[in-house]
């Protein structure tokens, strides 16, 4: 479970995140929805422990130390950040090792995620020539190799084709069913609408609404999530 309380972050004169608070429970997919520059990625960075907040706190499964939080999470970013001269399996194995896995346990976990994500055919190829979908799968396998209880996904479906997006959504549903806490940050309404149980809408670094899709639409007096999003991100805050 992720508990975020009063996070603030400034870069010079720009306030990137201004008092963001929300909770993402286990076994649910929480969508972090906002326009470009709303503060989603900075919030994800603070949850991951790579950006130090000016104020506020993050707690993952009750843990607050950044290095311990990083031990508990798997993260996937818009830019997949693969090592092009390494094979898919080597990319995944490297991150397994960095998470403390070794020997038979490491190889077992690597093979598990390779099979689960349908990467067997390309697992031993260098990732340089991979398609967007294959890169996303390798990056996701890398995020899952240590079997994290918490998964952070930042704009995961950018550039993916429809079959890959569908397969990705199915995987998220499976992980949710296993009790994984998933936070999905996106500006793509279809993504959050299709898979998220709860939504946190961020605008100008602040949470402007939180709750289920239906609750947010009702509070905003809108018939669709898109209308609600536009009203909330261009008007005043609607409390959850």
């Amino acid at each position: 479970m992720i508990e975020v309380e009063g996070l603030r972050k400034r870069y010079g004169s720009v306030t990137a995140v201004d008092g963001v608070s929300f909770a993402a429970p286990d076994g649910r997919i929480t969508g972090l929805l906002g326009a470009n520059g709303a503060g989603k990625t900075t919030t994800i960075g603070m949850i991951c422990g790579v950006v130090t907040p000016d104020a506020g706190s993050v707690r993952i499964d009750g843990v607050t130390a950044p290095i311990e939080m990083r031990r508990r999470i798997g993260a996937l970013h818009d830019h997949k950040g693969l090592y092009m001269r390494l094979t898919a399996r080597e990319n995944i194995r490297y991150f397994g090792q960095l998470h403390g896995l070794s020997g038979a346990e490491l190889e077992g976990r690597v093979q598990t995620v390779v099979s689960r994500l349908g990467l067997n055919a390309v697992a031993d190829r260098q990732t340089a020539g991979f398609s967007q979908g294959e890169r996303m799968k390798v990056a996701l396998a890398r995020a899952l190799v240590h079997d994290p209880r918490t998964l952070l996904l930042d704009e995961p479906t950018n550039g993916l084709d429809i079959p890959t997006v569908r397969a990705f959504r199915q995987l998220l549903s499976d992980l949710r069913a296993q009790g994984t806490c998933i936070v999905l940050s996106s500006h793509v309404l279809e993504d959050v609408s299709a898979v998220c149980d709860d939504l946190v809408i961020i605008a100008r670094g602040r949470v402007v609404a939180a709750g289920s899709q239906q609750e947010i639409c009702r509070r905003a007096g809108a018939g669709s999530l898109e209308d609600a999003f536009m009203r909330l991100t261009t008007c005043e805050e609607v409390s959850s």
Partner: protein
């Protein structure tokens, strides 16, 4: 050094061994010195009394510079390259300490720097064997030992400086430009000392200057006192920790993470 830093180092070495263009470039830099000295040795002007002195002077400078060139491509790739291909953020999100990340990358850069140094020294010995007078050829193994003794610690410092400079660069191109400027430091100091030699003394324990003095003395058959050489090695290795600590702090800063996104 921890298991995590060795994991990072191993990955970077394996990764870089597959970068054939970079390996060829490093090999060319390592053999540039022996190649130039070989060409000079065929010059009619070089067939004078001063031939060995000219050859040895040039060799010492090229050997000094090779300690810097060998790890340069690796340092660029593992620091600014990591940022440019957006793989830095996933790396920083693992539970590995920044110190281990930096040390691992430094080890990888050092391995390639030492390999380039070994290639350079082997090339210089080959040139000596082919083109130098018999008296000098007989000294070749001793010369090689002096060069390696002087330059191995310098390779550690050079790799650390390159890791730091590349770490502060936003792109690989920017890192390459910055590091080419760094290369001028040993080149300038080396050339200066060839024309204005300094006898072993307090300068011997100053990194880069000391290495040039030690190599030059060794090549002229007048080896520097071992105590100075040991002190130089200790000072040089200690100096390597400052850029590594700075690189660790740089990776720990928010800017590193936000620029990595």
């Amino acid at each position: 050094m921890t298991a995590a830093s060795l994991i990072v180092a191993r990955k970077e070495i394996v990764d870089h061994l597959r970068d054939r263009r970079s390996l060829l470039s490093a090999m060319a830099y390592a053999l540039m010195g022996p190649g130039v000295v070989l060409l000079v040795s065929f010059s009619p002007k070089a067939r004078t009394e001063s031939n060995p002195a000219v050859m040895l002077g040039m060799m010492s400078v090229f050997a000094l510079v090779s300690a810097f060139t060998g790890g340069m491509n690796v340092a660029i790739d593992v620091m600014s390259g990591e940022r440019e291909r957006h793989s830095l953020l996933p790396l920083l999100m693992t539970p590995v300490r920044r110190r281990d990340v930096v040390i691992g990358k430094w080890i990888a850069a050092t391995v390639f720097a030492l390999a380039a140094l070994a290639v350079n020294v082997a090339g210089l010995i080959a040139v000596l064997a082919l083109r130098a007078p018999a008296s000098l050829t007989a000294q070749a193994p001793a010369l090689a030992a002096w060069v390696m003794l002087g330059l191995v610690p310098l390779a550690l410092l050079a790799a650390a400086l390159e890791i730091l400079v590349a770490g502060f660069s936003r792109t690989m191109k920017e890192a390459g430009t910055s590091l080419m400027l760094v290369m001028f430091v040993p080149m300038f100091i080396g050339m200066f000392l060839v024309f204005f030699p300094v006898k072993p003394g307090i300068w011997t324990v100053v990194p880069v200057v000391g290495q040039q003095i030690v190599i030059d003395a060794g090549m002229r058959g007048a080896s520097a006192p071992l105590s100075y050489v040991m002190a130089l090695a200790a000072v040089t290795v200690l100096c390597a920790f400052a850029p590594l600590a700075a690189a660790e702090r740089m990776l720990g800063r928010d800017a590193a993470a936000s620029r990595a996104v």
